[in-house]
Structure formats: C-alpha cells, structure tokens
C-alpha cells in the first residue's frame, strides 16, 4: 500500500487494485504493513503506539476491504498478446515537416531538422502513410494520425490533402481516423483555423508561459522573441473554437523551476486547457533538469495543485493535463500494462516515409523499422517493443504508480539508460508526484 499526504488528508492507494482510501494515521500504519505481515504481527509491531482495541478495529476494517476484493497484493498474470495482434498499427505520428520557423533551444528535433536536412513530406508519401495505416490496422476501427514536425503547418497543403484522403479511405473500410496537430501557432491564419475547426481536429499549441520564460527558449529563426505573436494567435484560435478541443502546452526547464507561475500566466490569458511538461534531454546544458531540482519541482507541483483547487472552488476551473485522473473507471488492465505502444501500436513517419518506433527515435538507424511503402521490415523491433511492458521492468513492478503510469517513455528510458526497460529516474519521480496529486485532487472531488 502506498500511503501519502495531500491537502491535509492521509490517503492510501492499493497499487494492484487501484483502490483509493482516505485513512487516519492508525489505518495508514496498518495498511503500510498489510501486504507484508499477518494481523497478529501488525498488532505486535504497532502496539507500542496504539491500543490493541484501536488496532483490532482498524484491522477489522482493512479485512473487510480485502474480503470485498478492494485490496490485493498479487499481480495478475501477464497478458500474452496473440500473434495476430502483434504489429497491428493503431496510430501514426506524421512528420510532415522536418523544418521549423522557431529555433527553440531545447528542441529534441534539432530545431526541426532532426539532425538532417530541412525537408517536408510530399502528398504521395502522406497518402502512402494512410494506406499503410489502414492495411496494417487489422480489426481496429478507431485509428489516429498526429501531424507533427518540426512545424507541421509549414506543409499545410499536404496536411489538408492527407486528411481528405484519410477520411475517404477510412470510410470505405468502416474505420475512423482521429486527426490531431501539434503546432507552435505562428502560422494559424484564417484558412488554417477554418480547416482545423471544420475537421474538429484536436490541436496542441506550444507556449511556455511568461514572455521572458518563453522567449529565452523559443526564439524565432531571426532570434527575436515569439511570445507576442504566439500568445495573441493562441488566444484568437481558442476563442474561434469556443474554448474546445485544444491544449496549450508548455515546457519548463531549470530556468523556470517556478513553472506554476507560468501556468497561472496562461490561465490569466484566458486559457483553460493547460499542460506544462519537464524539458527532455540536453545533458550538460544550463536548462537541463537534474535530480538536484527534484525537491523544488515537487514543491512547485504542490503550489500548482493549490492554484488548481482554488480556481475550481472559485467556480472558474481549468484542466491541467497531468492532474486529470480517472480513479474509478479508466482504461482496462491490458492498456495499463502495455503503455504507449511505441514501436508496435504506434509509429513515427519521416518526410521520406521512413518508419521509427516514435518521434524520439527518428534518425537513429538502429531503430529504423521500414517504410510506409514497403511496410515494417524489422519484426524483431516490433517484438522487442511489444514485449516491453510493465512485467519486463523490475523497477516498475515495485512502483505504486505502475498502473497509472504504465512504464513511462521508452525513448527517455533508452536515451537515459541505454535500454527501453529501465525508465528515466527523474521523470519517474516527477510522474509519481503528479500521480499523487491527481489522486489527491480526485479525493477532494469525491468528498465535496
């Protein structure tokens, strides 16, 4: 059992069942020992601090929960995918432009070119990607395509063609493709906005928060700051789609450990669908996050949670992506075990049509998986990624958050530790903190 504090409450999560409890100090102590000791041993261990009468009472309540199946220490057996389902693709990340008009200092994509020449995808390759997705999707009906880059709107005509072609081809097969687009918002003109709204496409808009924070890391190609134009464009875009189906997404770095202030800034711009994420990579750079920042970052998530709850109580709430958590319901066990699906359910496609496990592996030849024209030609990589579930990650098996996190990002793991089976330690700690807060917020929601 994982026992933790949030907002003055003591909460306990049973990692295996997902049961969330509010407990007093005594019950918290009992639950910490429940999966490891017998009731008699627990009584003996705690009798110096609590009366036997109280211990008996608390143990009785815990036994009642266990009898009802709400507590369990035993992992279910590993789900074994059928041979037919391995390699069925559900989603593509389409790099329609390996080019960008910003020069973000933390860009994992080498400011848009992924370490290669600046190039864009042509229509034939885009259509071939759709054909590949549809023929590789097996019986799956709900498919996804994310337009990514670089900056995908540098290649808007091809985005528009791919959507039209994708809708037409999917409909013939009784399938649906859900399109999303991630953009820096600099190229959102009337024609683009009308198209995105007409297609009801979910859009992720990049903006880091305060002007000085944003412009330090997200300059235009000529070195000027991007905040002024981008913040205006984002507000107009959100207004023109009635505040629906978007996320404003920022990145925080070692330069803004007070990132809750950036979320507050975005909120004060009138934006209500928000996410801010820790910067990835950049070892040795001044902006890089390290374990030395962890305590400050955890405190900052707590400060953000206070702001989140205050705005909810004031009746003008916002969504913060990492604080959304379905404690009752949510995805099935198979999903929680298998995680993101990179390299098996989900692939990235370069402008030339080359396939990689996800956008973060693009350009690394040891992860080249084939092309949209020839299909997947590296079945060993598909098998490797499809088997990289929680059961193969010893650290995850010991973690209380495993069924809410599902094992973290394969790419972070590989780039930090040389294997997709050992998650990045800092991102694990941040993930656990965010999950505790999300669970805590759900506890307050239930009580009120």
């Amino acid at each position: 059992m994982h026992v933790f504090k949030f907002g003055g409450k003591t909460l306990a999560l049973d990692p295996i069942t997902g049961t969330l409890l509010e407990v007093d100090d005594l019950a918290g102590e009992v639950l910490k020992l429940w999966h490891h000791l017998t009731p008699a041993e627990i009584t003996a261990a705690l009798s110096d601090r609590y009366s036997v009468c109280d211990l008996t009472e608390a143990l009785s309540e815990v036994e009642e929960l266990a009898a009802a199946g709400l507590l369990d220490a035993i992992m279910p057996p590993e789900p074994v995918p059928t041979d037919a389902s391995v390699g069925q693709i559900k989603a593509l990340c389409l790099h329609v432009a390996h080019d960008c008009n910003l020069r973000c200092r933390y860009c994992f994509a080498g400011t848009g070119d992924f370490g290669y020449e600046r190039t864009i995808m042509d229509t034939a390759t885009g259509r071939a990607a759709i054909d590949f997705l549809l023929r590789s999707s097996g019986p799956r009906r709900n498919l996804e395509v994310d337009f990514f880059g670089g900056e995908p709107l540098l290649n808007f005509p091809v985005v528009r063609d791919i959507v039209a072609y994708g809708e037409e081809q999917a409909a013939k097969l009784g399938k649906v493709i859900r399109f999303t687009l991630t953009t820096n918002a600099t190229l959102l003109n009337d024609a683009v906005i009308e198209f995105l709204n007409d297609k009801q496409m979910a859009v992720v808009l990049s903006l880091d928060g305060r002007e000085a924070v944003n412009d330090r890391m997200r300059p235009l190609a000529d070195g000027a700051g991007s905040y002024s134009a981008v913040s205006q464009a984002v507000r107009e875009f959100v207004e023109r789609r009635s505040g629906k189906n978007y996320y404003v997404r920022g990145t925080y770095t070692a330069h803004n450990l007070d990132f809750a202030t950036d979320v507050m800034h975005l909120y004060n711009l009138g934006l209500r669908e928000l996410s801010i994420e820790p910067v990835v990579g950049g070892a040795g750079e001044s902006y890089t996050l390290t374990q030395d920042h962890l305590a400050a970052l955890c405190r900052e998530y707590e400060r953000l949670a206070d702001f989140y709850l205050a705005k909810r109580d004031e009746g003008d709430p916002f969504n913060f992506f990492h604080f959304n958590m379905a404690t009752y319901g949510g995805p099935c066990f198979g999903k929680r075990v298998s995680g993101c699906g990179a390299g098996c359910d989900y692939l990235a496609v370069t402008p030339a049509g080359d396939l990689y496990p996800c956008h973060q592996f693009v350009g690394q030849q040891e992860f080249a998986m084939g092309t949209v024209f020839a299909g997947v030609t590296a079945p060993s990589l598909v098998n490797e990624f499809s088997r990289a579930n929680l059961y193969r990650k010893p650290e995850c098996l010991r973690c209380f958050a495993k069924f809410f996190c599902s094992g973290g990002c394969h790419a972070h793991a590989y780039h930090s530790n040389g294997t997709i089976l050992q998650p990045d330690a800092l991102h694990c700690e941040l993930q656990k903190k965010r999950i505790e807060i999300a669970l805590g917020i759900s506890a307050f929601r239930s009580v009120q």
């Binding site: 069942t17 309540e61 709400l70 404690t327 949510g330 198979g334 999903k335 996800c358 069924f403 996190c405």
Partner: protein, 47 residues
C-alpha cells in the same frame, strides 16, 4: 463511513485483467516533448 477508513474510489484495475484489451482506446504517448499522458487519464473506448 468506517471509523478509520473511507473508500474514495473502489479500484477496478484488477477486475479488468480477465479480458483481452480491445486496443481501441486513445494512444497514450508518454513523451514529455509531446503532451505526455498517463494511462490513468485515458478513457475506455468501449465504456
């Protein structure tokens, strides 16, 4: 409510372990350089 423990949310994770995943739900990229999801905030497509 019991004296020492209140159930906030009864867990359903293990209860779904008997069924094979239909794999129709949304992809949950966990990379922080996109918008990282936890599976916990995903919705079952069949519910």
């Amino acid at each position: 409510m019991n004296k020492h423990i209140k159930v906030i949310a009864p867990g359903t994770v293990k209860a779904t372990a008997q069924k094979e995943a239909c794999k129709e739900c949304q992809t949950s990229c966990q990379s922080a350089c996109k918008t990282s999801c936890t599976v916990g905030n995903q919705v079952c497509q069949n519910r």
